[in-house]
């Protein structure tokens, strides 16, 4: 029941927020919007700490209600990031339209619901809600954003429909909607269902060649929305892909190999395209494709070690990607500029944001001692343990990530450390950044460092569950 409250509270806040906006009480509506996920986060934290309701005795691999510690952990990170993004929106979104906060809160709830679903129907319900709500948030700024939203809904609807067909076939073959009771299917059925699920859910993760919506949507949506979609929605969806693929049949070598190859191509396309970008948000959008590839590669390896590493990277990705997007948002907000060549000397002018961006970029590039290093290293190690063609794929993936690191170095050099005399003479004025912008960046930076130096905080629990996934 407590868990249900944590999902419902943001929905209630969304409703109240919409009502107050319609009554012309925008300020009250905004405070209701931020209090929704905050209250939910407090309830989640207290319930888990005190081990009440569904939060009790979840430290085992027993799937009571289909819930496990990892699902709770990921839902918790979703809520943390959702709360941070909502508070950040207070500083970032001036003059919001009535739809902004209600839709954002609905996506936060739907993403939590997706992660905590143990039922195929519930999963599809939350999966679709988040897609439809995200469409209107991508279209929020109108103009070019409308075209981005058109691409978003077009490709994601096709993906959702294919995923639905996979879910229905899964239901017909197993006779149950309970994800934890699906059992192994016949090899032929498992092949068809796995491919439908991979293509369908993979579209929402942004796997190549179904990624065309990603760069446009993430670069045209308001930055808090981009950050939540690129980090949290994508990662939570990848987590469900892990659950479903391994629920179908964990020994489908051909399907897993196909997934691994697709993942490596995704990493390559994302990283190479990112390197060619001049637009800061588009560069980050392509980097999210690269990160999706890394997570999916872990699924493709399919061993217990790879699943552990993949889930750890999902958690890390939520934090790293949100951090770097929020830093980009702060830069765009302060300078009113997003073209990399037009930005300069920001390490001196915006030291906190610059530090946050560099931490995020290093973490995403897998530089120690940040959190991204360990999970990416673990994925690579798992590919070597698996043997066969997987070590080669791992090395190719590693090589493919180099353009991404080069793209980040280009941003450091041009945006943060280059002194442009022309701009210096013009004054290069920087807008004021409120604490709503700065504090989320500091919190996320600390979390990226903390999980890098103290990974056992989450790894022990993930390890237990990933063994259970593969049984």
């Amino acid at each position: 029941m407590y868990l249900l409250y944590t999902i419902i509270i943001p929905v209630i806040a969304a409703g109240l927020c919409a009502v107050f906006f319609l009554l012309g009480r925008g300020r009250i509506a905004t405070y209701i919007a931020v209090s929704g996920p905050t209250l939910s986060l407090i309830l989640f934290s207290v319930s888990w700490y005190m081990k009440v309701g569904e939060f009790a005795s979840k430290n085992s691999i027993a799937f009571t209600y289909g819930l496990d510690t990892v699902a709770l952990l990921i839902a918790y990170v979703v809520l943390v990031v959702g709360t941070i993004v909502t508070w950040y929106s207070l500083g970032y979104m001036k003059e919001v339209r009535p739809t902004y906060y209600p839709l954002l809160l609905i996506i936060i709830s739907a993403t939590m619901g997706t992660v905590l679903s143990y039922n195929l129907a519930a999963f599809y319900l939350f999966f679709e809600i988040s897609t439809l709500a995200a469409t209107f948030l991508v279209a929020y700024r109108k103009g070019r954003a409308l075209e981005a939203a058109t691409k978003f809904i077009a490709l994601n609807s096709i993906g959702s429909s294919l995923a639905l067909l996979g879910l229905i076939l899964l239901f017909i073959n197993s006779g149950t909607l309970d994800i934890t009771a699906l059992g192994s299917l016949s090899r032929n059925s498992a092949y068809i269902i796995s491919l439908l699920l991979f293509v369908g859910i993979g579209t929402k993760i942004g796997v190549v060649p179904l990624h065309a919506w990603v760069p446009d949507s993430y670069s045209e949506a308001p930055t808090p929305v981009s950050s939540f979609l690129a980090s949290t929605v994508k990662s939570a969806t990848a987590f469900m892909l892990i659950r479903l693929i391994f629920a179908v049949n964990p020994t489908l070598d051909l399907v897993l190999f196909f997934i691994a190859v697709t993942a490596v191509i995704t990493v390559g396309v994302g990283a190479l395209m990112a390197y060619t970008q001049k637009d800061l948000k588009k560069l980050l959008a392509y980097s999210s494709i690269e990160q999706a590839g890394i997570i999916v590669f872990a699924i493709g390896i399919g061993s217990s070690a790879a699943v552990t590493a993949g889930i750890f990277h999902i958690i890390n990705n939520m934090l790293m990607k949100t951090l770097i997007f929020l830093c980009a948002g702060a830069i765009i907000m302060a300078t009113k500029e997003r073209h990399i060549d037009s930005l300069s000397d920001l390490a001196r002018k915006m030291p906190v944001v610059a530090a946050g961006f560099i931490i995020g970029a290093f973490a995403l590039s897998g530089i120690p001692p940040l959190n991204g290093f360990l999970s990416e290293y673990m994925i690579l190690q798992a590919s070597f343990q698996k043997g066969g063609y997987y070590p080669i794929l791992g090395i190719v993936m590693l090589i493919f990530t180099l353009p991404m690191f080069a793209a980040y170095v280009k941003v450091f050099q041009k945006v943060f450390f280059r002194v442009d005399q022309n701009q210096a003479e013009k004054g290069g004025e920087i807008g004021y950044l409120t604490t709503y912008i700065i504090i989320p960046i500091i919190i996320l930076s600390i979390l990226c460092i903390l999980l890098g130096v103290y990974p056992t905080l989450v790894l022990d629990q993930i390890n237990k569950i990933s063994l259970a996934f593969l049984r």
Binding site: I158, F171, E220
Partner: protein, 199 residues
């Protein structure tokens, strides 16, 4: 068996017409497809799914017809002859694919399985040959209808059918709103003119 063949021919015919006709008439054709599915579900005694489909199935075409009244219709991507050849080739290819993978079909649902593979092929043709956002929506809706047909093979599927049909309506509403906004912004919903961003 005869009934299934008859319903199957009707479904394939209505789906094929979506490829050829413009948005408004495609909506009517889609309504025909939905009514055929309702009739099939009734004959198979899946009364709950049939009722859900009967109640909610007319909404997506109605939404599209209302939206197309405010939007200048885009012309179909291909001429009637090219589209007809495409349809015939798709049906033949889908049939051949179904024949090749027939071993995975349930023995008591052989005809239905062939029908589903052909409808799947046609939905991909609709999506692949689209010029407007609505044609793409029709492709998605045909995929969702395949889901409804598959669900009728199973017991206790009413919940999933209901959720699916509700989302079909919501997806149609979302597409209609985006199409209206696109038309207001760009003066067209023709995909060829919506290429400023290029991913």
């Amino acid at each position: 068996m005869d009934q299934i063949v008859l319903f199957g021919i009707l479904m394939v015919a209505f789906t094929s017409l979506i490829v050829i006709l413009n948005d408004k008439f495609s909506a009517l054709s889609f309504l025909g497809l939905n009514l055929t599915i309702v009739a099939l579900l009734y004959t198979e005694s899946d009364l709950i799914s049939a009722s859900i489909k009967a109640v909610l199935g007319f909404l997506p075409p109605a939404i599209i017809i209302v939206a197309t009244r405010r939007i200048e219709p885009a012309r179909p991507a291909f001429g009637k002859i090219a589209a007809s050849i495409g349809i015939a080739a798709t049906i033949a290819l889908s049939y051949a694919t179904a024949y090749a993978i027939r071993s995975v079909f349930p023995e008591d649902r052989l005809l239905q399985s062939y029908l589903i593979v052909i409808l799947f092929g046609l939905s991909i043709l609709i999506i692949g040959s689209q010029t407007t956002i609505f044609k793409l929506l029709f492709g998605v809706l045909v995929l969702e209808n395949i889901g409804t047909l598959l669900l009728s093979w199973s017991y206790n599927s009413a919940l999933l059918t209901l959720i699916e049909e509700v989302f079909v309506v919501l997806i149609a509403v979302t597409f209609a709103v985006i199409a209206l906004l696109d038309f207001k912004e760009y003066g067209t919903i023709d995909e060829k003119n919506l290429t400023r961003l290029r991913g």
